[in-house]
């Protein structure tokens, strides 16, 4: 969102993190994290969700694709179908579990891709500086001129519906903010004493980047990226909701929310479940990201 401010803040953190980077620093982070019950609880929720969706076949009581017309739109609490059934009589619990796979995948993969690409470009821009910096940052500015939802909708709208196109669009959306943060943090680290010292001692640029810069900038960029996962998940399911992402009968939370919309008058509670799943996941990612940032912020 106001990523310039965030970037500046992170740059400061990075400098301090660099100074304090030692066993003691990480112990302090862990100590602070342990005292933050909200972050711990959210992390545990996410971990539990991850286990459930990765081992979906073990947890899902029914086949997520197998429906039956005679038991469609059953309410929550139905025997054998604890979360009811959807508009095709498929077990909601199983669909939500399997749906998490695609929703998480589409929430995390674009951010991960953007993290790799954005960090590479951002660190290059920050470390090399000069014309390279100029080129990378001006192109970034252009993509910055689009509100994120608009850019995602525009690209996947032009390319047409489909998971791959949606992932491509979302990756493009998240590269520019990560470049900005990476560039700003790297510029901050570059001018620190120990980098100068390394340079004076004759280390090659690559070594400096690998040993000194990356070690110090990856953390802050990573934290920033985790805060994007929640945005990405909402955007991805939003694309599916508009009919631009996943296609039926594939379970995915945004798409389930879309197809269950017509049932909102019959089984409102069942119909809002996928939305609640997106909400819980996204709020947990946000809180964990906040908690991590606070724990790693030495000022905190």
């Amino acid at each position: 969102m106001s990523s310039t401010a965030a970037a500046a803040e992170l740059a400061v953190q990075a400098k301090q993190a660099a100074l304090y980077r030692s066993e003691g620093y990480w112990a302090g982070v862990w100590k602070r994290l342990r005292r933050d019950p909200v972050t711990i609880v959210c992390a545990l929720i996410l971990l539990a969700m991850l286990v459930v969706i990765v081992f979906a076949p073990l947890f899902a009581p029914h086949d997520p694709y197998q429906g039956s017309m005679i038991r469609r739109l059953r309410p929550i609490g139905t025997e054998n179908y604890p979360l009811g059934t959807d508009e095709l009589g498929r077990d909601m619990l199983s669909r939500l579990i399997y749906g998490g796979r695609l929703s998480w995948f589409m929430g995390i993969l674009p951010v991960a891709l953007a993290f790799v690409i954005g960090t590479t470009l951002g660190v290059t821009a920050g470390f090399v500086g000069g014309k390279v910096n100029m080129l990378i940052m001006r192109v970034t500015d252009v993509f910055y001129a689009f509100p994120s939802v608009l850019l995602a909708v525009a690209i996947s709208g032009a390319l047409g519906a489909g998971i791959l196109n949606a992932i491509l669009a979302l990756t493009l959306v998240f590269i520019p903010p990560i470049i900005r943060v990476a560039e700003s943090v790297t510029t901050g680290v570059r001018n620190l004493d120990f980098v100068d010292a390394a340079r004076a001692s004759g280390a090659s640029a690559l070594t400096i980047v690998r040993v000194h810069v990356l070690g110090n900038v990856l953390g802050p960029i990573f934290i920033y990226a985790t805060s994007l996962i929640s945005v990405c998940m909402i955007l991805a399911s939003g694309l599916s909701f508009l009919g631009l992402g996943t296609r039926p009968p594939e379970p995915e939370w945004g798409l389930m929310l879309n197809t269950l919309r017509t049932a909102i008058y019959v089984q409102p509670w069942v119909a809002v479940l996928p939305g609640a799943c997106i909400f819980v996941t996204s709020i947990c990612f946000n809180l964990v990201s906040d908690g991590l940032r606070q724990a790693m912020d030495v000022k905190g």
Binding site: S68, M69, R72, R247, Y265
Partner: protein, 538 residues
């Protein structure tokens, strides 16, 4: 004091009249359409038949029309702006239409034979100054044989077709008569013909029972009653059209009293709508929701026994339950009792034992199970609820040992594939395709599927069906110019089609609409259209 009493009386009067005598009732009817935009208002609406329903028939008339005043029988063709017509016995490509006298357009100019010629030229004569390429697409395909028009005298006009075609009068319900005088007047203020048509769309002039008074693109259109209408006048004072493409938004709008009438409520919302006192109007439509078989070498549906077996294996009543009653089981392209029904000897019903017997006879059984591959869409106009319905069929056919695999593709792509044929790579080896169609016009109902000349990519004979017997039946129907004779020829064609099980007939849509209890007088005809002169608000 006296004045006050007058006012009170005046205010009380219309109410008293409304309850006593519906004919004098009035009011504003607000309609939530499924289209995402107001259908074009210049005379040749887009948005499929919903366009004709809401901005065609109310604002304009065609030479011929559908009788929409009865709910208890299929709508028949009646005179519109033409009072009578006949084909020239010496030249069967020449039709003579006698026009209705004393009809005026909304702008006051008279409706004459010249106006008919002008309206034919607007879509068929590229040299005409008012030719509008944008109107060709929605018009020409609906009257494929019409070529030109000639005025004989002020109230007589001759129309010419490319080949003898007895179906022309039915096709002509789609050619709406716009006012040439009004267009010419607008042309003087506009730089180009195209700009003039845009101006005409914003301020149109037809002969219909309503006049357009306001158009906000994508949001609303308002029309008021045409008090000078040549036929029976409308009871409503005003109609407001609102595009609400979202089924849920339509339901919510009706429930929160933002509209009085919605098209196609989601079946799942119907119980809730009923519980809140809304009326649900349904009636079978000339619409077919089928699986259209492929007749090429690789397709098991080439065998008539298999086609019959599948037709017999389907539990159409179960499907109706799934849709909350919002469908009519289809046992042919037209229902029994229709003039084109004929008397097929193959009776479509649910008889799983017979289906199993036929499959066994065709060589399929537990040792050699039959697998069918069907291309379907996830949504689309007229497609009803494609996913749940197909899934139901899949489960049903499993009971007679038939496995069904679906190839779910996007609606527009499916529609395009429909013209490519089942031998084309786009079919991806499918044995059947699930595209629903309108069946009120014999060409659209039967000819384009069963005539070998219509094989893809010419028209929608996707299955590449080719049988000289059917070609002869089609030719006979096209050359039967007496209505009774033509219906009889079409009935023979239809009966033969059912006997050969040329489709897997599954459902007819019932065109559900929901309306507030204040809407009275509505007649839900067996048609895609509706007569908006009939309802009124109480």
């Amino acid at each position: 004091m006296l004045r006050l009493r007058h006012l009170l009386l005046a205010a009380a009067l219309p109410v008293a009249l409304a309850t006593a005598e519906p004919a004098a009732a009035q009011g504003t009817l607000r309609i939530g359409m499924t289209a995402a935009d107001i259908p074009l208002t210049h005379g040749q609406p887009d948005q499929g038949f919903e366009g004709n329903r809401f901005t065609g028939i109310p604002l304009y008339d065609a030479l011929t029309a559908w009788d929409l005043s009865r709910a208890d029988r299929p709508s028949t063709l009646i005179p519109g702006l033409a009072t009578e017509w006949s084909v020239d016995p010496n030249d069967r490509t020449r039709w003579v239409f006698r026009l209705r006298p004393n009809v005026r357009f909304h702008d006051g100019s008279p409706f004459t034979a010249d106006a008919v010629v002008w309206n034919v030229r607007k879509v068929l004569d590229r040299e005409a100054p008012h030719f509008d390429p944008r109107q060709v697409g929605v018009t020409a395909t609906r009257m494929p044989t019409l070529r030109r028009a000639e005025a004989i005298d002020e109230l007589t006009v001759a129309l010419f077709t490319s080949e003898p075609d007895s179906l022309l009068p039915i096709n002509l319900t789609n050619l709406f008569m716009a006012s040439p005088a009004h267009w010419e007047a607008l042309r003087r203020q506009q730089p180009t013909a195209e700009a003039t048509w845009n101006a005409f769309a914003a301020n149109p002039s037809g002969t219909g029972p309503f006049r357009l008074t306001r158009l906000v693109p994508r949001e609303r259109a308002e029309m008021v009653r045409n008090d000078n209408y040549w036929g029976e006048r409308a009871r409503l004072e005003r109609i407001v059209l609102l595009p609400i493409p979202e089924a849920n938004a339509r339901t919510a709008a009706l429930l929160s009293n933002q509209v009085d009438w919605i098209e196609a409520p989601a079946p799942d919302a119907v119980p809730q709508l009923r519980a809140r006192g809304m009326q649900i109007a349904t009636n079978p439509q000339p619409h077919v929701w089928p699986w259209q078989p492929c007749f090429l070498e690789h397709s098991p549906l080439r065998d008539v026994r298999v086609r019959r077996a599948i037709n017999l294996a389907i539990d159409r009543e179960g499907l109706r339950t799934l849709l909350g009653g919002m469908m009519q089981p289809a046992v042919g392209t037209v229902p029994p009792g229709h003039p084109w029904w004929g008397n097929p000897s193959f009776q479509i019903r649910t008889d799983k034992a017979e289906a199993r017997r036929l499959l066994a006879e065709a060589g399929y059984g537990p040792q050699r199970p039959l697998t069918l591959r069907v291309q379907i869409s996830a949504s689309g106009s007229g497609q009803m609820q494609p996913l749940p319905m197909n899934e139901f069929l899949q489960q049903d056919l499993r009971q007679v040992g038939v496995n069904v695999e679906f190839d779910v593709i996007e609606w527009n792509a499916l529609f395009t594939n429909w013209r490519q044929g089942c031998g084309h790579p786009s079919a991806r080896g499918a044995h059947a395709i699930n595209v629903s169609f309108a069946a009120m016009d014999p060409f659209f109902a039967m000819v384009r599927f069963w005539d070998s000349k219509m094989a893809a990519p010419v028209s929608n004979n996707w299955g590449m069906f080719s049988d000289p017997r059917f070609d002869q039946l089609v030719a006979a129907a096209r050359n039967a110019f007496e209505p009774a004779e033509r219906d009889a020829a079409l009935a023979r064609l239809h009966a033969a089609g059912v006997d050969e099980a040329l489709f897997i007939w599954i459902a007819h849509d019932v065109g559900p609409r929901a309306m507030s209890p204040r809407v009275r007088g509505h007649v839900q005809p067996q048609s895609w259209f509706v007569d908006l002169r009939l309802p009124f608000i109480q």
